[in-house]
Amino acid sequence: MTFVTFVNQFISGATYGLVLFMVALGLALIFGVMSIVNLAHPSLYMLGAFFGYFIWFSLKGYYLSFWLSVILAGLAVACAGIILEFFLRPLREHTEQILFTYAFIYIIADLVKMFWGGRYYTLPRPPGLDGSVTVGGIILPTYNLFIIGVSLLMAALLWLLLSKTKLGKIIRAAVFDREMVAMLGIRLPWLFALVFGIGAFVAGAAGLLAAPMGSIAVGMDAEMLVPVFVVCIIGGMGSFLGALIASLIIGEVYAFGILVLPQMAMAFMFVVVVVILIIRPQGILGRS
């Protein structure tokens, strides 16, 4: 394996991993605060891609249409997430919540199929990011680098939101003692809806951000499902940093696995999962 392929592979692995990370981020947030495992999160990612495409399509021509549609898609998906949370609210038991979101995998998948499923959609990389940069003879697609940057930025923003703002303090308080927060006169339902919305927003935005590197079609959710939850689990449920580390591990294992034995790249990933969970059942940074 030459140095060039190594670098290329590393970058593409990081890109793939960090797209997973963006989706896992929302999951981690939701789980951390509400201890709800939202199996339908990859479906929200798919929704983001489709919403985003059609928004982008309708604003065709504007220079910033892509960026605008990323934001709008995120917001649209955030609304979808809040609706999901509303349905989810009356459920107390964890298994129930998991399976309820599981039902929404079916529902969202078929609704997408019903309305837009008929074909593959593609949208070009936004102007300025469609080329590539050459560093020491190595060609690096600009957009991949951008994805790496933007996902880390998102993580940073979420972290700032949680650690530096009043809202963040409240949210973190809610993690430990809901009654206490309720005592302070904060409406927990609103707080939870907001948290779920933020989580969904990230997933939705990720959906459109990842779209220019491939196609938008039914089945996006299914192929996302396993890797994303693998990331969450081995990162340690609810841990941002853990999710980041895990997503990079998975991304790179997959990318280099392809070099070694393409058809078994997925298998490698599962081996890693098994190993990590045997050593640390609660995940890399999970609290046992």
Binding site: G118, P212, S215, A217, V218, G219, Y254, A255, I258
Partner: protein, 412 residues
């Protein structure tokens, strides 16, 4: 656990059986005056896009048949079923259509695995099965039988066509291939190599790449291909896979650095739209916009009126399948499997892709494979063949003896 008392268990059992009785009224016996034809296709899962084109093609075909007075004077009813890429659903729906709806024809699903499973059912219960879209060669070879009819171009023929296409580029000295790593993809490359080596012994095949079906990340392949510096890349990636490859290869300028010859089925071309790389050549099974027959023109017109979009290869071949059945029924003066098969053995039929002949021994049609340069077309909004040359795939087919030997081997 008091709740696990035998009485309650039995109560449940009886309840279930009762439920099964309640379902009885749903059994709609086939009533006279209409011929029921079935389409089983993978309308749930990754193949949905192709499956829907196929289903729409069937709808247009049945409308046309009814407009022309049905089959042997009987109105035709189309029953569409979803096999969801799962053999159990495919087989169960096949049995439903055969036993319950008394269909006379089943047009097969996208997935070769499901189609093979259904093929067994059709053989045993003597119902005609025509493929809606090409698939694994084992379908008409070792697992073939009188009731399976290979209408669209089989993998062997398709790869032969591709080989002819690749041999056109005179100044090419080295090439690589890339194909999805599953039965069909493997067969495409196998079928390609033998004839191509014959036509162009001078071309050195540097490597074959095998990404998995539905791969998201093609960067390793792209960089590896660039590292090999071939003059030609032969790709059988399709659907979302080809779109992903193109999108990821563009920044690396892959399409400027080598001649590309790709599997240009409509769904990925439509998906790519303007994004389609320039200067590539492709091969296809039934590129509707580029086949200039009057029948095709009227089909496209009808299809666009009904569906509001362009037909894809699957739409065309599925349409053909139903038309072939009508033709056969009229020849046999009957819609029953055995009679139909007897009449159609070795028959020559008119299709959207011109006249085709089914071979006596294995019901294999000599469908052409289309090749040509891909050019973006404003009117269509995606790249089409300009022009499309039809390659006769008859010569490449295995001889009847070979086929029979294969089938014998499979029996053992």
């Amino acid at each position: 656990m008091e709740r696990y008392s035998k009485g309650k268990v039995l109560a449940c059992v009886v309840g279930i059986l009762a439920l099964c009785f309640i379902t009885l009224p749903f059994a709609s016996a086939a009533y006279a005056g209409t011929v029921k034809l079935g389409l089983i296709t993978d309308l749930t899962g990754a193949a949905f896009v192709t499956a829907r084109d196929s289903a729409d093609g069937a709808t247009v075909a049945v409308d046309r048949i009814n407009a022309e007075g049905g089959i042997l004077g009987n109105k035709v009813e189309l029953l569409v079923r979803d096999s969801a890429l799962k053999t159990d659903m495919g087989v169960s729906h096949a049995r439903e259509l055969i036993f319950d709806k008394k269909v006379k024809l089943i047009v097969g699903p996208i997935s070769s695995g499901v189609r093979l499973a259904i093929s067994d059912v059709c053989r045993v219960f003597k119902v005609v099965l025509i493929d809606g879209i090409g698939g694994s060669v084992s379908l008409h070879r070792e697992r073939g039988h009188d009731y399976f009819w290979q209408l669209s171009v089989p993998t062997s023929g398709e790869s032969y066509g591709a080989a002819v296409g690749c041999s056109i580029f005179k100044d090419v000295k080295t090439m690589v291939s890339i194909a999805p790593d599953y039965v069909w993809g493997r067969q495409e490359i196998e079928g390609f190599m033998a004839p191509f080596k014959e036509m162009r012994p001078d071309v050195k095949i540097l490597e074959n790449f095998w990404p998995k079906l539905g791969e998201k990340d093609y960067t390793p392949y792209i960089t590896a291909i660039l590292a090999k510096k071939p003059d030609l890349m032969y790709s059988v990636l399709y659907g979302g896979d080809w779109i992903n490859f193109v999108k990821q290869a563009k920044p690396y300028g892959l399409f400027e650095k080598m001649q590309v010859f790709c599997f240009a089925e409509a769904s990925s071309q439509i998906g790519l739209g303007k994004e389609a790389p320039e200067g590539t050549w492709g091969f296809g099974r039934a590129p509707a916009p580029s086949i200039r027959t009057p029948q095709m023109k009227s089909f496209i017109k009808a299809y666009k009126e009904k569906m509001g979009r362009w037909p894809s290869d699957a739409s065309v071949t599925t349409y053909d399948a139903f038309m072939v059945f009508k033709y056969g029924a009229e020849m046999a003066k009957s819609i029953d499997g055995p009679a139909w098969v007897k009449a159609m053995k070795g028959a020559t039929v008119e299709t959207l892709r011109g006249t085709l002949t089914f071979r006596e021994c294995d019901n294999l049609s000599n469908s052409p494979e289309y090749i040509g340069p891909l050019v973006y077309d404003e009117k269509h909004g995606f790249a089409i063949f300009k022009p499309a040359l039809a390659i006769d795939t008859g010569p490449i087919a295995l001889s009847c003896e070979e086929i029979m030997q294969l089938r014998k081997k499979a029996k053992k």
